[in-house]
Every structure is written in C-alpha cells, then in structure tokens.
C-alpha cells in the first residue's frame, strides 16, 4: 500500500476558473498599459513621457541638494502655525467629540438619536481632510482658520467614533448597577461611563494630536495654512533646495510628535 498523499486545498477549486482569472488579469494589464489598444480600459500612458520622467527626477533631486535653510524664518513661521493648528484642532475636537460619541452609542440613547449620531459620524468621516479643507478655504479664504476647522471636523469624528465604540463595548453590569441606585442620566455618565472611558479617550486624543500634526502639513497644500502652504509655494517657484529643507523639517516634526504621543500613551496605561 502506497503512502497517502496530501495537498493543501486550492483557494479556487475549479481549475478553469483558477487559470481563467489569471489569464484575464494578464489581458487587463496589457490592455490598460498599451495606449489605444482597447480605448475603454486604456490608461493612456505616454511611455515616452514616462521615460523622460527619470532624468527630470534626477535633475530635481540634484537641485534639492544641499537643502537651503537660509529662509528659516519663513519655515519657522509655517511650522509654528502647523503646530498651533494641530493643538487647537485637537482641543476643540476633543471637546466636540464627547457629545458626538455619546449620541452615537446605542446603549445610552434611544434609536432615533443614535441614528442621527451615526449619520453625523458617517458623513464627517466620508470625506478626506483635503476635500474638507478645500470647502473651508472656499468659505473662509486662505490661511490657518480653514486648516483648523478642517482638522477640528476630522478630529471630532475620529475621537467621537472611538468613544462611541468604546461605550458600546462597555460591560453592561456597571451601567445597570448605577441605574439601579436611581441615578439620572447625567449621573450615570459621571459614575458608570466616564471612569471607564477616560484613559482610552485621553489615549485616542493624544494619538489624534500626533495625527493632526501630520495632517496639518497636508491641508496647507490646498491653502489652509501651516508649513504645507510654504511647501506648496516653494515647489511652484521651483525652489527645490528650500523644499527639501521643509521636507526634512516635516520629518523631524512628525517624528517628534509621534515620539511624544507614544511616550504619553505609555504613561496612561
């Protein structure tokens, strides 16, 4: 009697489907990368221009070196603005996220309120910060106000969502026990919800502060203030050596922010 053989089961059992899918992927790759072969799926990539990209990149990088820190005052102003934006946005986001998180927790509020809260969270989380920033720049003009508002909206929905999920995952017994003493809703929040939520809430908020420092450099590119706006301006003027100086500063800034956030969150546990 021969030894029994064993092969792991295939992800797709039918060999026709299995190899057919691979074949179709190959066909799609060829069609999309070849201009005008099948116009419907072609990405219209101009391969001659793609070829010219490499030397152009080499040119740009060569003009970046050495980084030029001579306009450090402009750079410093941008960085300071970004950090201020991140701090302000985190603060107001933390405040606004509390009511939002509470009304989006199913175990605390009636169904209509919950649906309203979830809808608010959903809408504010649908759009990327850059899109929200474009709106606010259109409404309030260029500058840090638009950036702060953008980051407030983003922080509020991010922390709010975390808070809502945490409240929903809370052990129900403590809620029940406080309710059984005859405590009203605000007291239930104070004694059953707040003590359980506080460490996580602070942790998420500190994480969000770190994220806001990163995001504050992005929203500037659409004109919402901060070091990103300085970066965008330097690129459009072909001051690549200054651009590199800004990029290096952003790396250091984000690194410091992340280090700070990790340090605080480790202390919170």
């Amino acid at each position: 009697m021969s030894a029994r053989v064993w092969r792991p089961p295939k992800l797709i059992v039918n060999p026709w489907v299995r190899y057919g899918l691979l074949f179709m992927v190959a066909v799609y790759l060829v069609c999309s990368l070849t201009p005008e072969l099948v116009p419907l799926v072609s990405l219209n990539i101009d391969w001659t221009r793609a070829g010219q990209g490499l030397p152009r990149a080499a040119d740009m990088f060569s003009r970046m070196f050495p980084p030029d820190f001579s306009r450090w005052e402009l750079l410093y102003k941008g960085v300071r603005e970004s950090v201020q934006m991140a701090l302000a946005a985190s603060f107001f986001g933390m405040l606004l996220s509390i009511p939002l998180g509470l009304i989006a927790a199913r175990n605390l509020v009636p169904l209509p309120v919950y649906l309203f809260g979830r809808a608010l969270l959903g809408i504010s989380r649908t759009f990327h910060e850059v899109i929200i920033a474009i709106f606010f720049v259109k409404i309030f003009g260029f500058g840090p106000l638009a950036g702060v508002l953008t980051l407030v909206v983003a922080s509020m929905s991010f922390i709010g969502k975390m808070l809502a999920e945490d409240i929903e995952n809370m052990p129900p017994g403590q809620l029940e026990a406080i309710k059984a003493t005859g405590a009203s809703f605000p007291k239930i929040l104070l004694y059953a919800v707040q003590p359980q939520m506080l460490p996580r809430y602070l942790g998420v908020s500190i994480y969000r502060l770190d994220a806001n420092i990163r995001h504050s450099t992005v929203v500037g590119i659409v004109g919402a203030g901060g070091v990103g706006q300085v970066l965008a301006a330097s690129f459009s003027r072909y001051d690549y050596d200054f651009s590199l100086a800004i990029l290096i500063t952003i790396v250091v800034l984000v690194f410091v922010g992340e280090f700070f956030s990790n340090w605080v969150r480790a202390r919170l546990r």
């Binding site: 017994g173 403590q174 029940e176 003493t181 005859g182 405590a183 605000p186 007291k187 104070l190 059953a192």
Partner: protein, 274 residues
C-alpha cells in the same frame, strides 16, 4: 412591604419568562428564590425595579405601584431598592469609597456627584458600613484591586448606603468560592435583619438558601412552584422546582444547626419512603 401580583414578562423573542407570579413579603425577612437557570429568577427581581420592563401585573413597594411610574418617579422608587449583583458590578476604576457613595446618587445633585461632595452624614455612614462589612481602611483602594469576596462586600455596602426598603440580590455568591460564599451570605442576611430590610435573594445553591434564608420561593418555568419555610423543602418539592433528581445528597448536607436537625430526620424518612 412588597406585593407582586400576576407579574408577567414576555420578551420580544416570544420567550415567556414570567407567567403570572404572585409574591407577598409583609415582614423583614430574607426570601431566597431558587430555580433552574432560565426559570425567570433574574427577570423577576429586575421587573421589581424595572431594569426589565414587565409585560403586565403589579408590583407594590409599600404603597407605590412601581409598574405605572413615570421615569422621574421610577428613579425615586429605585432609590428605595438596593441591588446586589453576581458580578458585583462595581465601577472598577473608582475607589471603594466612590463605589459605596454611588448608592447615594439618587439624593445628590449631578454637580455634587461630579465633585464627590456628599453630605457629611453620608460619608460617616459609608465609613460605618465599610467597617461593618469588614473593609475598614479600604476606602481609597480602587475597586479593581479587590478580591471577589471583597468586591461583593463593597456591593453590599453600596446597596445598604441607599437605606433601602427592599434589597434585590441577584446570585450574590455564584462567582465566589464556597467559604467566601457562606461568609457573604451570612453577612447579607445579618445586615438585612439588622436594618430591618426585606431581601429577595436569587440563589442557585439550595444548600445555602436552606441554611440562611427565612423563606424559600421556588420558581419553575416562570411560575411559583413552592413558597414556604426553609425546612419545608423536601425532595418532592425540589422535583417540582428542578425536575426529577436524587436530592438525598443535597438535603442531607444541610448543617445540623439546632432546630434543623429534626428536619433532617423527617427528610430522610420521606426519601426512604419514596
């Protein structure tokens, strides 16, 4: 003191947890409610303070019909009913003192509650209760640093802090080791008698129920199958409550305290006859 009439609870799933329960407690006594899991014990005590909304029937606490109260009036009624839980349900990140004082939440404003500014007499009562339950000096310990038995002692102190007219106790010993379970049960019954507070105690352990309760109520499928003194429990009664089983081991283990010794004799005779 407590008068329950035709209490029915049908859950949205269609499950009929209580099918017309009548229970009257007119003196300060410890009433143990026994019955298999799913017999409706938890539903019964949660319908009394309306943590579970009863489908029909009446619950009278002194002269208040709890089932018809508005939300505000219900909160006032809940202040008069102390509740103790199987999983203790302490707020783990708060101190022992904060947990005990939370029994007074119904009596202070939200601002006072937030600032932990309780009236001095509440605070001295909290210290007395902590001493009485054997946790003298633990007031600033965080609840999550306590053992199971200690947590349940805090749970008892919190419920008594309400100065309740009724104690609702849901499986107080089910998460504890046998020795701690006896200690907690003893403490609970002593305090209920000391304070003159009637207590409804759901309990799995027939043996503990017999040893400590003044009166035993047996629930089976949401209706009362037995209601009588602890020494009236016979194998036939336990069969009614739980279904057929050999009960000789359970009942024989009853401690031979004075007054219960003769009961053991009758039980043995009955089981021999049966």
């Amino acid at each position: 003191m407590l008068s329950i009439t035709d209490l029915v609870k049908v859950y949205p799933s269609g499950e009929r947890a209580l099918g017309g329960v009548n229970l009257h407690i007119d003196q300060p006594q410890v009433v143990a409610v026994i019955g298999s899991s799913g017999a409706g014990k938890s539903t019964l005590i949660r319908c009394i303070n309306r943590l579970v909304e009863p489908t029909s029937g009446r619950v009278l606490l002194k002269d208040t019909d709890v089932t018809t109260l508005s939300r505000r009036a219900l909160r006032r009624a809940r202040r008069r009913m102390g509740m103790i839980f199987q999983e203790y349900n302490l707020v783990e990140r708060l101190t022992v003192m904060e947990n005990v004082l939370s029994g007074r939440l119904g009596y202070v404003s939200s601002w006072q509650a937030y600032r932990r500014k309780y009236p001095p007499k509440d605070i001295s009562r909290a210290f007395e209760l902590l001493k009485r339950v054997g946790l003298d000096g633990y007031h600033n310990t965080r609840a999550d640093a306590l053992s199971g038995g200690q947590r349940q002692r805090v749970g008892i102190a919190r419920a008594l802090m309400q100065q309740p007219d009724l104690l609702l106790v849901d499986e107080p010993t089910a998460s504890l080791d046998p020795k701690t379970a006896r200690q907690i049960m003893r403490l609970l019954c002593e305090l209920a008698h000391e304070q003159g507070t009637p207590a409804v105690v759901n309990i799995h352990d027939v043996h503990l129920a017999q040893g400590f309760a003044d009166r035993i109520v047996g629930l089976a499928d949401g209706v009362i199958a037995f209601d009588g003194a602890a020494d009236e429990l016979t194998p036939a009664v336990l069969n009614d409550i739980y279904g057929e089983e050999d009960w000789s081991k359970t009942i024989q283990k009853t401690p031979a305290d004075q007054g219960k010794g003769k009961n053991r004799g009758t039980l043995e005779r009955e089981s021999a006859a049966g």
